[in-house]
Symmetry: C2
Subunit: 887 residues, 2 copies
């Protein structure tokens, strides 16, 4: 019984008492050692002290009641099992004391090796190994490690002694030190300990052990471990397990050695052992990099039986863990010990190949294979990326606004980017981009902006174009006059080289080597399996034939969101669009709309053709009209300038410009909105100016008609944005249907709406009566539900919120199931009440986020829609959602 | 059986078959005639054709099956009852044919009088009345009316004939025409009819009747009736009833007459007949305005018995209808006929007095009295208003942003308004107001702006100050340079007189007479009764001690929303606020916050003292910080100017200003937001800059402490705005509690939050765990739920939406119960699950809207909070909600 009256916990577990399922209690390393021991693999004997003991330790900063006794009896048992004894002058027991948390935190916590050595046992060890130098060196290392880890002494003070002796004896490397040098060093080490701690170095192995265990516990709370946990979202209250294990030595001669190996190639997934080893060495020697390790395949030559044994262990471990393993091993005098195994880290392409091949090897089912792949990592295979095997100089970082990498010459304006872009790789660098920059963006390999969020013009357009973009990189300051950019102390001129990684948001100096994407047969195979299982349709968000084709190639089953407004931003169209907006009468407006209609018809023909026989959901105009006009600030600046110029000289051209700009400003002021996102946009435009959506419907209908006549099978669907009141859709629908009936009276074109306002979700039953389909616009729905303007909060306080754990992840990245999701749930339930078979999809950016896809699956949606390059991710995530739900 | 197999409807009802409950079927006028007939009042005999017949008529544009027979047999019965007969040469029956819809649509539909006159019956009538001129004139009028209403001939053509004859015989008025003139006119009228219709004027009274009934039916769909219905939200499918009734004549000599009277004075409510009459006259003569009617009291002198009879009818009708009546009567040869009765229209003060006195007269209960008052009209009694008894020249209209009327001289800038305001009545006229104009607003009697919505700076501040304001009056153009304003063709100079009515949004030319508000004893009585019944508490939204006192006087039970940011806009504080915002370090920021703290403490002392012993909910800072800084546009304009100036002359002062402005612009740009409403504001500010809310809490705590020490009982409550995530409130609460514990550790200060984001409503159970109370901020909740930025939509398309009936009323005026209300319901249910006794109120502007108050009552909220002048409305509406729910 403990103080609180409960039954006392068991703290110490021998390997046979544990299993891989006990990770939480014994830590990852500890539970895997247990598992291997139970599998009959040769693991050095030992036991694990549980994470619970660690947690209790923190309560009183001392061992919990009973732990010391448990350690003592475990030690006694270990002595019996090994036939060795602490402090024995004949066959002394040496152990290692290691940390091992629930998840691997490599190098973050402390380890003590060779514990058990003292003035008495070194003689026995020398006798036993017939290698005095090895024993002295081990003792020297033990004192240094113990003093640092357990006694808290400064590592550098010991290094100083070591260095002095090396220079005194004229040697360069540690291993060149003679036995007598080592003896001198040991004497000096001990003197240093006594001087610093006012006590002699502890000679009693039991005392060494208990102190070491406490030290390893405490290392859970050292600064670097805390930082690591914070970065990796690991809870502070998990604690670490401690493994006490008999030492084995790979440095006892050429019949000994050490190595690490993967059961398959972690970079491409090829089957077969992959790794390195060194003879007559310990783990540290591999790390130190003094000797070059050999490829594991060479082990066949020097130790064929050991290689055989290792290979068979690999096969067994893979069968057992049903995953590729990363093993550490030591050979002590021709005997192989496995020191650790864990699931090996691998690249995305290796992960896919391994999963596919393991299915073929009957290691697991297709379903299991699908669950092994992290869908987000598929992304890596679809974009150019920066070759990791090169020196990189990171100079800044911004938002990872559009994935992929690009390298090229800096250009600060769109015209230049367009012209140079024909012959060179150009990175367009702007404070912000605007519709005026589109041609420059087309001409560039990538875009870098100093301002703007994930929905800024640059970000949206770049994603649409499939070009890499780093946005909102606030560290860079651009001086358009001197044509320079400044980053910290660095100044870069136009035509200097720069590289950006839109997948990570990082910016690098100079030109870098890129790797081309190449999805292989394994990639296709895994996605075919995904398609067999998934229930959700996967469509794409695409505004151009090129994107549509790309998405189709990647498996898209249609377009879920084709935005029509970007088409108006093209250089030859924008002026017409502006004239349309500035029109004073319906008649005048219609004149310009007619011109736009012809252009939109061509766009739609292209997209419908690319998606022939698959549905294409076209959203009618959405943004507020002022987005198509010059900014208020620019106009005011120019007008003030012109006023001054006109004052000083009477130039009729200037006066004309002044008047024109004044008129424009008047109009812009009239259209100005304090909160454009909540203003005159979406279906509200079409209700006040029906002629706009009449034009768009006409363009769609005529495009469909033309393709039909060419023998194709176009399937347009028309989507009305921003509905919040049932009557809005009812009226819009009437306008649309009238036009459709005039042009293609016999075609059944679906007319639906986006659900992107809280009110739309709340009255979805009423809205459903006028809709053939719903599509959740979760970007806007998230903005209104949270009261978050994405552009404003991402730069300003969202990071702070995530840092302070007010939010765990941006709700723009992964659906907020509690709030936004609740509205979606309400909407689905209400809509199905009115129309049980209503088709419902999602076309917000969440459509490409695996967690959000899982949520959509659980809501019973019909499809998700995402950007072309996310289509494979969505296919996989949709299959995983089905599997996870069944489990 | 009709065509559809149903039982044929009954279409015609004699008065004894109907009652006042049958308004929908028989129309208002018809059902009241039935009621009076059943009460035994002398009503000319007749019958009603139902609204159902009218509706059926529209189906086929002809009488429905059976109607004609029913009319015929009713006519026969009427002939029996009156002893008169159509077409009789001895005692001919003359009837009126009138419309009468469910609700009164005065003058919108058609009427035919004197029907039954023809060449035969005029002789009998002359015989009977011994008044040939009267008969000829009646015939002339009948032909004219019938030809216009039934035959569709042009009224003017008949007037032309009449005018010609008048000028030929040299007379000025119709009544001066001789019998022979009238005979000539009748001949010409008939000739005109025959020429235009190719048929003689119909002589058969039955034919006349059937045609007239059809014409009255059809008049339901004339243009002016349709327009009227649209304006008054009357459904088009109600149809009109038609009343066929024996004619009575008030113009048969001095023993005859006609008049209208109210049973009580409709302008002040005093008991006793109030109205006018004319002897020897018909209704039209009163309207024509040629003879001046006499006061009803004078009827005692000329016809004392009739007056007695009328008085007793009045008493009976009031008893029966339990309401003040508006009667029409005719005296035909000393016999009194009541032609119509209906509930009389009255002023707000009359309505209140009548309701109170009718309770004293035991006509009905207090509960009934409360239900008789339209709570919105109470408003009229609390603000200065424009005297209706004067000539008014309306020149423009805008939004009724803050109620009450003001008259004074135009001033275009705040400084001038402040200085002139000390001695004269000033109306401050601005394109928009900004924080820099506050002192001018204080100095003015009223504010008129050309731009901005109901939540614009001018509107919000004016309501706060209780000053009249007309905002967003887009017709006026202000030229600050010439110091003129233009409205249509009118130009007004500074110091010209103007008047505004903030209750209606109208703007008038020149100085007008205003009436002071004077709530009387009846007003107090009715509100006392309301307080006895209501369950909702009524608090006020007030930011100053003056408002707090006013609200308390009007019955407020505390403050539900005290905004703290307006305090920072005061001229001596704004610069400190700006310095605080521009601070680069927490330390610097704290310096300025300390200065602000002292000022806020004084504010809070004043408000808490004014509301002594009543709760005062203080909301922490809410708006985005850039609202306190100059606008981007102004800065850009000035910087461009300065650059030009600096270019032309090297003036160190100018350069200094340029640099300062550039620095400011940089900061403003940093803080700039695309959608500030959804940006860095509310509790988000306090989480990033805890020092700001620490300062505010300190000011509140110290104010409370100081008042306590003076023996008062301050009851502050602290409210955190814009919470959408439970952790936001948890963190804010920690910050607040820490400060409270330092200053007033023993006081229990409630800490709560606003529910003003959809997400807050959806996770109200989680938020409730950290809250002592909730207050619905329905302004913002409406904005986010609908995706409506109030400032943007009110001017741009909300009117259009109401016109097109997409919305029936602005959701900012009356709570959208379907959408926003659903979220509130969810929030209440979730919150009570976590904390069954959580106090929940509402402090959006809906807190003063009767329909919204009823909804809040039904949700079981604890209180509503509204602007001071709406407190009486809220008290009444809260009582009405209780009564209505019981019913």
């Amino acid at each position: 019984m403990n103080l609180f009256g409960g039954i006392r916990l068991k703290y110490v577990y021998f390997f046979e008492e544990g299993s891989k399922e006990m990770k939480n209690l014994l830590g990852g390393k500890g539970s895997n050692l247990c598992e291997m021991a139970n599998l009959g693999l040769p693991v050095p004997k030992g036991f694990v002290i549980s994470t619970e003991a660690c947690i209790k330790f923190f309560d009183s900063n001392d061992f919990p009641e009973g732990l010391e006794q448990e350690i003592n009896s475990a030690l006694q048992k270990l002595e019996e099992r090994t036939g060795k004894k602490f402090d024995s002058t004949e066959n002394p027991l040496l152990v290692s004391v290691r940390s091992g948390a629930r998840v691997s935190m490599p190098g973050m916590m402390d380890t003590v090796l060779n514990l058990g050595l003292n003035e008495k046992t070194i003689f026995a060890m020398t006798e036993k190994t017939q290698n005095k130098r090895f024993v002295l060196d081990s003792f020297r290392r033990f004192i240094q490690m113990f003093s640092n880890v357990v006694l808290g002494l400064n590592h550098d003070d010991f290094e100083e002694i070591l260095e002095k002796e090396k220079s005194f004896s004229g040697v360069k490397f540690d291993f060149e030190l003679t036995e007598s040098s080592l003896e001198k060093i040991i004497i000096q080490y001990k003197a240093l300990v006594e001087k610093e701690t006012k006590k002699p170095f502890p000679e009693n192995p039991k005392e060494q052990l208990l102190l070491s265990v406490k030290a390893v516990f405490s290392s859970w709370n050292n600064k670097r471990a805390i930082t690591y946990r914070k970065l990796n979202n690991i809870p502070d209250d998990w604690g670490t397990g401690v493994i006490v294990q008999e030492m084995v030595f790979g440095n006892l001669g050429n019949d000994s050695g050490t190595g690490v190996c993967f059961t398959r190639n972690p970079s491409d997934g090829t089957k077969g052992l992959y790794g390195e080893f060194l003879l007559n060495a310990q783990g540290e020697d591999v790390v130190a990099g003094i000797r070059t390790p050999k490829k594991i395949s060479e082990l066949t030559d020097v130790m064929p039986e050991i290689f055989e044994q290792l290979s068979s262990f690999a096969v067994n471990l893979e069968k057992h863990y049903k995953d590729m393993q990363d093993m550490e091993f030591t050979i002590e005098k021709n005997k192989l010990f496995v020191l650790q195994t864990r699931n090996g880290k691998r690249t995305s392409s290796a992960a896919i190949r391994i999963a596919v091949e393991m299915v073929e090897e009957n290691l697991f089912s297709k379903t299991d294979a699908l669950m092994k792949i992290d869908s987000v990592h598929l992304n890596q295979l679809l974009h150019k990326r920066i070759d990791a095997h090169q020196e990189l100089t990171e100079i800044a970082s911004g938002l990872n606004a559009s994935p992929g990498a690009a390298t090229g010459k800096i250009v600060f304006d769109a015209n230049k980017a367009e012209s140079f872009g024909e012959t060179e790789n150009i990175i367009l660098v702007r404070t912000e981009t605007s519709p005026d920059d589109i041609h420059g963006m087309i001409g560039s390999k990538g875009i870098l902006t100093a301002r703007g969020g994930m929905t800024s013009h640059a970000a949206v357009v770049a994603r649409g174009m499939g070009k890499p973009c780093v946005a909102g990189c606030e560290e860079i300051k651009i001086d358009y006059k001197t044509r320079e950019m400044h980053v910290k102390d660095l100044t870069l001129k136009e035509m200097d080289f720069i590289s950006i990684d839109g997948t990570t948001g990082k910016v690098f100096l100079g030109e870098v080597k890129l790797i081309d994407p190449k999805p292989d047969e394994f990639f296709s195979r895994i996605l075919e399996w995904a398609d067999e299982i998934k229930l959700l349709g996967v469509r794409t968000n695409a505004d151009t034939p090129k994107d549509a084709r790309k998405a189709r190639e990647l498996g898209a089953q249609g377009i879920g969101l084709c935005r029509t407004e970007h088409m108006f931003f093209e250089p030859e169209r924008l002026p017409i669009m502006q004239k349309m907006i500035l029109s004073d009468s319906t008649q005048e407006r219609k004149k310009y709309l007619n011109q736009l209609e012809a252009m939109q018809r061509t766009d739609f023909e292209g997209i419908l053709e690319a998606m022939n026989s698959l549905p294409v959901t076209i959203r009618l105009i959405d943004p507020p009209l002022h987005e198509f006009l010059p900014s208020r600030e620019d106009l005011i600046e120019r007008i003030t300038e012109l006023k001054n110029l006109v004052d000083s000289r009477d130039d009729s051209k200037l006066i004309a410009e002044l008047n024109e700009k004044k008129f424009l400003l008047k109009k812009v002021n009239e259209l100005h909105e304090s909160n454009p996102m909540l203003g005159f946009r979406g279906c509200r435009l079409g209700i006040v100016y029906p002629e706009i959506i009449e034009m768009q419907t006409k363009a769609i209908a005529e495009a469909a008609k033309n393709l039909k006549e060419k023998g194709l099978n176009p399937k347009p669907e028309i989507m009305v944005p921003l509905v919040g009141i049932a009557k809005e859709l009812e009226l819009s629908r009437k306008i649309i249907e009238k036009v459709l009936n005039e042009i293609i009276p016999n075609e059944k074109i679906l007319i639906g709406t986006m659900i992107e306002l809280p009110r739309a979700a709340l009255i979805a039953d009423e809205i459903a009566l006028h809709a053939d389909f719903f599509s959740f616009g979760t970007n806007d729905l998230t903005q209104t539900t949270f009261g978050f303007s994405r552009d404003d909060v991402e730069g300003k306080f969202l990071n702070k919120y995530i840092e302070q754990k007010i939010l765990l992840i941006s709700p723009f990245v992964s659906l907020d199931t509690k709030g936004v999701g609740k509205l979606m749930e309400t909407a689905v339930a209400l809509a199905k009440k009115s129309k049980p078979n209503l088709k419902i999809g999602i076309c917000g950016e969440h459509g490409g986020d695996p967690d959000s896809i899982e949520f959509c699956h659980s809501l019973g949606l019909n499809y998700v829609s995402c950007s072309p390059f996310r289509v494979p991710i969505a296919r996989l995530a949709a299959a995983q959602a089905v599997i996870r739900k069944k489990q």
